[in-house]
């Protein structure tokens, strides 16, 4: 009897096991497409109470399939691929900013012409400016051609401005994106920490929080896309998450991070806390964004600044030491504003370097035509802007009044009435053999922006000197003032062939800047392709161990169904047998 009664519980155990198995299969089939779902399967064990025959079946545990080495590799691959992706996106935008120029005054627009690339990048407008200067030598006296040169210079300055603004905008948008990424890291970290708490609670009581584990793994996967992560298993199913920027999750404690610009303009991520420890993330989207913000974009910005400044300084010095068609000047305003007009010039970060030397000012008496040359000694280590002004005023005997404009801190030169001045270094009149080939050995004219062609301190604010823009007759075409003298223009045109930046001409340097970005884009595109391929392979590998195979589950479902059917039949058989036995004992009355 006892063996038959126990047979009922044996059969029942089968049905229960079958039902549980069905539930697991149902869970698997429903989640076949859920990302991050690990397949679960019931562990059947036969139960026994020590007797000769066992007591049925039980599901000891529900196994959750994992492939730890592959999953660790996936986390690494995720962060690498996202870092590359992010940097690639930024590099492509930098490339567009550099090569999709605006309009040039020579009539070309931003569309592609039949010879290929975009018609008016900084490079082509630069060439165009020098070509216009060359053309001007045919008719140096022509105000129409001089105007064309000035407007081409203006278009070039505009393109520098646009590119610099584009890069600045890109960087500032990126700053916002970095903050968002950091918030996401913080949010994921706190979710992972709370899951750690829940999981350790369940496992502590002997349970199997398979779905909680799936959720946590999925969150860690998402986190690995934002930053590089390393997981360390702890007792009771807790996982610590570490990173290049410090520990993110330790047990049930999540770190919080914040991003802010430091005084140098670099974006730095720190851990929120009493010490604000630096968190130097190097991988994942955040790592890529930080790299782009702190290195990729500033590198190109500063290259553009150097290009703009070199062009400006070279042109300005030649422009200042020549004569325009409007002849010597009666007044001029410097375009460089110093921070402190009483401090030595060497401390004032002038856009064009000034060294110890001499400045020769030619002063012409307009009525008589006599001309004198006055030599002013310049030394930036001992003279401030005020000192230079005083030196000029006294050196010309007051015929040229120099002062520092109080509002703008720029140098102002005004000739006494009846006089005019220039820096072309001509011989005196009457001649005395005192003409000089380099009237400004100190470089002071470009240094304080006197009668230059360009003003500004970098690509973001380079523009044509307002005085020249308003009066193209100030464009210094000659050295002697004669209508057909184009020697100064020839000097300006010669700049295009001089190796000024790293052994390269200005145009070649721009091409280098754009090519370097292009090469970067190409390399990262290749890298991204191979990293994506690797990630795909790893995911496939992971899937083959932890994924749900629908066909497999359907077969399992059939066997679970049969288990239930068979044990139900068995119980029905046992029931019938018991009834027969009971009929013997208690015959019907």
């Amino acid at each position: 009897m006892s063996s038959l009664l126990s047979a009922i519980s044996t059969g029942l155990s089968g049905i229960e096991a079958g039902q549980t198995a069905m539930q697991v299969i149902g869970q698997n089939l429903s989640n076949a497409s859920t990302p991050g779902y690990h397949e679960q399967s019931p562990n059947y064990i036969s139960t026994t109470s020590g007797g000769t025959v066992g007591t049925g079946v039980d599901i000891a545990s529900i196994a959750r399939y994992t492939d730890a080495p592959t999953e660790t590799a996936i986390l690494q691959a995720n962060s690498q691929q996202n870092a590359t992706s992010t940097q690639l996106g930024i590099a492509q935008q930098i490339q567009t900013i550099l090569t999709a120029g605006g309009t040039s005054s020579s009539g070309t627009d931003g569309t592609n012409d039949s010879s290929g690339t975009n018609n008016s990048s900084i490079g082509t407008t630069l060439t165009s400016l020098f070509d216009q200067l060359t053309q001007l030598t045919s008719s140096p006296n022509s105000s129409a051609v001089a105007s064309t040169v000035v407007s081409e210079a203006s278009a070039l300055a505009g393109q520098f401005n646009t590119a610099a603004t584009g890069l600045a905008q890109l960087q500032s948008n990126l700053g916002g994106q970095i903050s968002q990424t950091v918030s996401q890291v913080n949010s994921l970290a706190s979710q992972i920490a709370s899951l750690n708490t829940q999981i350790s609670g369940v496992e502590g009581q002997g349970g199997q929080p398979n779905d909680l584990l799936d959720q946590r793994d999925q969150l860690i996967n998402q986190l690995s896309q934002q930053v590089d992560v390393q997981t360390v298993s702890q007792p009771l199913g807790v996982v610590n998450v570490l990173s290049s920027g410090g520990p993110i999750v330790l047990g049930n404690i999540a770190s919080t991070f914040q991003a802010a610009e430091d005084p140098n303009g670099n974006m730095a991520v720190t851990q929120v806390g009493s010490n604000n420890l630096p968190a130097n993330f190097t991988g994942g989207t955040l790592g890529g964004q930080l790299q782009a913000f702190n290195q990729d974009i500033p590198t190109v910005s500063s290259q553009l600044d150097t290009l703009a400044n070199t062009l400006s300084n070279q042109m300005n010095e030649i422009q200042a030491t020549g004569l325009g068609t409007s002849g010597p000047l009666t007044s001029t305003q410097g375009t460089v504003s110093v921070a402190d007009p009483t401090a030595d010039l060497s401390t004032q970060n002038l856009p064009s370097p000034v060294q110890a030397g001499q400045l020769v000012i030619s002063v012409t008496n307009t009525a008589t035509g006599t001309r004198t040359n006055d030599t002013i000694a310049i030394d930036p280590t001992t003279q401030s802007l005020q000192d230079v002004a005083a030196a000029i005023t006294s050196g010309t005997g007051g015929q040229v009044q120099a002062s520092v404009n109080a509002t703008t801190n720029t140098l102002q030169l005004t000739a006494q009435s009846g006089y005019s001045f220039d820096f072309a270094g001509r011989d005196t009149n009457p001649p005395s053999g005192s003409g000089v080939s380099n009237p400004d050995t100190a470089g002071i004219l470009a240094g304080v922006g006197i009668n230059g062609l360009f003003s500004g301190t970098g690509a973001s604010n380079i523009s044509v000197n307002p005085a020249v823009a308003a009066n193209p007759g100030l464009l210094s075409v000659s050295q002697t003032g004669e209508a057909g003298d184009s020697t100064n223009i020839q000097k300006m045109a010669a700049i295009q062939n001089q190796a000024l930046i790293g052994g390269q001409t200005l145009t070649a340097q721009f091409t280098n800047i754009a090519t370097a970005v292009g090469t970067n884009v190409q390399q990262m595109t290749d890298q991204q392709t191979s990293q994506t391929g690797l990630l795909q392979n790893l995911n496939d590998q992971d899937q083959s161990v932890t994924g749900v195979d629908q066909n497999q589950e359907l077969v399992n479902m059939l066997s679970a169904q049969q288990l239930i059917q068979a044990t139900s039949q068995f119980m029905s058989a046992v029931n019938t047998t018991l009834n027969s036995l009971l009929d013997i004992i208690t015959p019907g009355t």
Binding site: Q95, N112, A493, T515, L558
Partner: protein
């Protein structure tokens, strides 16, 4: 490769492969429809450098070609003026020869002197020749007539011509650091030492009106023979300048041909690097289309059958 293949795996791979094929196909289609295979530096960084250099060179050559045309036009006008000058000098020689002839008398001398005076003013006009408002023989001072009558005698005949132009020639840039002289300094054309054109004519004029000389036919002949040799030296001086300018022009002409060829070569190079090679692009496109189609067909086939189709 793997022991188990799951539905998710198949789906992900099918999607990834189709996306890859589509992207590759889109790139080739873009190249074909725009005709350009190098739109941004990343398409071909090395090619981009070549393209940028070729474009810069092409623009430069075009500019030099233009300035050379301008210079040639100025020199051409200049040599024309010098041709006229030569003719005037020839006429002067005829007059001097006539004057030296024994049959010319006192009134003859006067008539010849008057002719010479008008030749002098013609000479000044030619020395002040201009083209489009720019004077050809003032050097860099090309915006005002370079020659003036400095002094006249009691009868208003010119006795000295002065030069108010510059001693530097105007220069035009025709190549990197390369210039050609266009407007020559008049003092170096008409007032060369030992070959002063004006001096020769003025001396001839003065000889023909000199009271001492007009009385003695012998002395006059002697003086006029001297004048002849002066005029001849002056003519040689002018011919030397003409030869210089002509050789400049022929140098410019051959240089222009060279520059135009270089410009063509640069444009061709730019086109080669940046234009789509239609033949290979079309073949590539067909290959990509085939791959994409194959990828799609395979995807549809492996995703369809499952055990569900067979379980009753």
């Amino acid at each position: 490769m793997y022991f188990r293949v799951t539905g998710q795996m198949q789906a992900n791979n099918a999607i990834a492969n189709m996306q890859q094929q589509s992207a590759a196909l889109a790139t080739v289609q873009g190249q074909l429809s725009s005709g350009i295979q190098l739109q941004v530096p990343s398409d071909n960084p090395v090619g981009y450098t070549t393209l940028a250099q070729a474009q810069t060179s092409s623009l430069q050559y075009a500019t030099y070609n233009q300035t050379m045309t301008d210079a040639t036009s100025t020199l051409s006008a200049s040599t024309n003026a010098l041709q006229n000058v030569n003719n005037i000098l020839t006429q002067a020689q005829t007059i001097a020869t006539q004057g030296a002839d024994a049959t010319t008398g006192a009134e003859g001398y006067q008539a010849l002197a008057t002719e010479v005076t008008s030749l002098i003013s013609e000479m000044v006009t030619n020395a002040n020749a201009s083209q489009n408002g720019t004077y050809l023989f003032g050097g860099t001072a090309n915006n005002a007539p370079p020659f003036q009558v400095a002094s006249t005698d009691a009868n208003g005949n010119p006795t000295a011509i002065s030069y108010s132009g510059s001693s530097d020639p105007s220069q035009v840039l025709i190549g990197p650091g390369q210039t050609v002289n266009t407007q020559y300094a008049g003092s170096q054309v008409f007032q060369q030492t030992g070959a002063d054109v004006f001096q020769a004519l003025i001396t001839l004029q003065n000889n023909l009106t000199n009271p001492t000389l007009t009385q003695s036919q012998n002395s006059m002949s002697q003086a006029l023979n001297q004048s002849l040799s002066q005029i001849s030296s002056a003519a040689t001086g002018i011919q030397n300048v003409t030869a210089q300018q002509s050789s400049s022009m022929s140098m410019l002409s051959s240089l222009q041909t060279q520059v135009q060829n270089l410009q063509l070569a640069a444009n061709t190079q730019a086109g080669n690097v940046s234009s789509t090679d239609y033949a290979s692009a079309i073949v590539q496109m067909q290959e990509q289309e085939t791959s994409l189609q194959a990828s799609m067909e395979v995807s549809s086939q492996i995703l369809q059958p499952s055990l569900l189709n067979f379980i009753q």
